[in-house]
Symmetry: none
Amino acid sequence: MAVRSEASHKAILDATMELLDPDSGEGISVQKLSIERIARVAGVSKTTIYRWWPSKVAVVIDSFVASHIARTPVRQDLPGLEALREHMGALVETYATHEGRLVSQLVAECQHDESAMNEFKERFWHNRRDAAVSIIRRAQEEGDIWSELDPVGVADLIYAPIYFRLLFQTGPLEKAWSDRVLDLALTGLTPREDA
Amino acid sequence: MAVRSEASHKAILDATMELLDPDSGEGISVQKLSIERIARVAGVSKTTIYRWWPSKVAVVIDSFVASHIARTPVRQDLPGLEALREHMGALVETYATHEGRLVSQLVAECQHDESAMNEFKERFWHNRRDAAVSIIRRAQEEGDIWSELDPVGVADLIYAPIYFRLLFQTGPLEKAWSDRVLDLALTGLTPREDA
Amino acid sequence: MAVRSEASHKAILDATMELLDPDSGEGISVQKLSIERIARVAGVSKTTIYRWWPSKVAVVIDSFVASHIARTPVRQDLPGLEALREHMGALVETYATHEGRLVSQLVAECQHDESAMNEFKERFWHNRRDAAVSIIRRAQEEGDIWSELDPVGVADLIYAPIYFRLLFQTGPLEKAWSDRVLDLALTGLTPREDA
Amino acid sequence: MAVRSEASHKAILDATMELLDPDSGEGISVQKLSIERIARVAGVSKTTIYRWWPSKVAVVIDSFVASHIARTPVRQDLPGLEALREHMGALVETYATHEGRLVSQLVAECQHDESAMNEFKERFWHNRRDAAVSIIRRAQEEGDIWSELDPVGVADLIYAPIYFRLLFQTGPLEKAWSDRVLDLALTGLTPREDA
DNA sequence: CGATAAACGAGACGGTACGTCTGGTCTTGTG
DNA sequence: CACAAGACCAGACGTACCGTCTCGTTTATCG
């Protein structure tokens, strides 16, 4: 009996992306986005949105996560360390665009909504972390990163600066910079004998 | 002529802290905080708040920054590296409390409000960064951190994981963890000969 | 779909009358009346009022016009001239009460709001004027008022003094006075031979 | 002991007229006029206005009454009836302009402010009424209006339609119309034998 | 094939807050 | 001591959304 309307579903996701996309005229922030407005643009009633999503954040995640993940793949054809460098660079360059604003606004929205945070971590963050960990593990197997280290701890150390810069806007997100971060993390901070 | 009422000023800051303080019964988030509510609790008219602060975020910053900064001082009596370790530990432990939630919510609020972000960086972040840089510089002079490195870059590397964990809630904020982060950053990720 | 709530509708009109009624404790003027206050007293949200009425004046008109009109009916059982005299007297006595203040305040409110004025004329004034014109026309048919005269012009002449006195408060609104006005209008100002 | 500043006094009256004058760019209504705004334009503090005038209406009356009265003088060189006709015509034509709006807005403002009403009647209305009565008395002496009639009652009958039309906006204010009103009042409404 | 139950659009509803405006009072210098 | 300057509390403005709640009206299965 009565089954979910695919047309409405799609209209909602499309309207959400359109509202958030600065190239579509609108380009509002996730904070300014409202269920009311999505419904209006999608030509759908509020009830329908509330029926299928618990919150605005959930709609946004549904709307863009899939496409986002696809955009920063892990390269399997390179040595682990090279793949790591490439992946960080791709991430940084992606985050330099509108998509970076979107991620930061999503994180922002989650700060006062625990279930949104869970949704976000499950749908977005775990995916990102797994990608990072898999590369790091490869680099460890290839002997470029010390194998005793916990890959998750390593991921924290080298990816955190990227998200930090995204959220605190302390400097431009560029590949040259992410390269420097990686180099610094690899060699460490202690003085070297050869210097 | 016509001079600012200190009583109102204080009432506003006090009301703000009270509303945000989970131990005072209220404990609402920065997002749920509203100028209207602050005015009501402070027994002050909205006009008075709008006259002196450009935004909710500015009020919050005024309300807690001073006390917050004082709570994580840089110890001058220890060697640089020890002071750094202590500072990171103190920061992490502070952020494990209600105050951490407050900082993360502040950062969240700034994601869709450029001028709030500027306010935040100027009043909060620069202060934090300067504290970090000064310790790092000391550790460099004492030979515990390679002197060629840019202290700001170093600060990024070792403080970013703290704020990352604060905002993404990927794990508990504990001194033991911040110690590990520091150790990892110091020795670097590359395999060591002595292992 | 989605139908107007009769309960809210009634609550709004009742609250409005109550606020304006000096016998209900409140007794504020139309000028001091505010949408906000009506909403509060009616236990209704402001949105609901704004949804159905364009302005405060419109609410007031809706609240009292019907009952007001009913209170000064045109008597069909009397000769035209007698009915006219009765009608003027009833009007004057009505306007001597709280209801007169209400009408004058309504007219006042319309002086700086064209659409309110239109609303007022359409809902209130035309009705009053039609009542007057119908009696005058009857008196003309019965030969008590010269049939060549434009009934609207006649209405202007004999009703204007009533509204004038209501608004300028130049004297008490009493039947004896309205009788004198009518007599004066009937005989005219020029000296009569028989005097 | 410091005496009233003539400069401020004049600045306030001038600013008021300027704000109300549609030819001076502003042209706002008496209702939209505010003490605050007068003070701003006059370069005077609010306190100063509140010190010398009890209300906005009082300022407006002070600002324009003198000049207004002068504009519709009673002609002494004509027979009473002619002077009456001229006076009514001049009044009507004056009220057809911006000044009419001003008078109607003043009356409006007085509807919910008793002391303003008293001020208005004393400063404005009595003056107008006296002018009317003096002409009517002259016409009575000259035998054109029945001498037994109370001149104030007569004034009510023939001037009321003018103010009525001004406030209810039931038709254009033109000399042709005021002539018709006067004629009607003179001959009366009852059928004439010569018709 | 017709009953039925869910999904749907429409949108009313009580709320909360927005940021601005004005009112009228009060306070603090300045000339 | 009149005045300017302007801070202050109070409260209304009209708008935007919130999340809940009827309403009929499709529409797709299931008996």
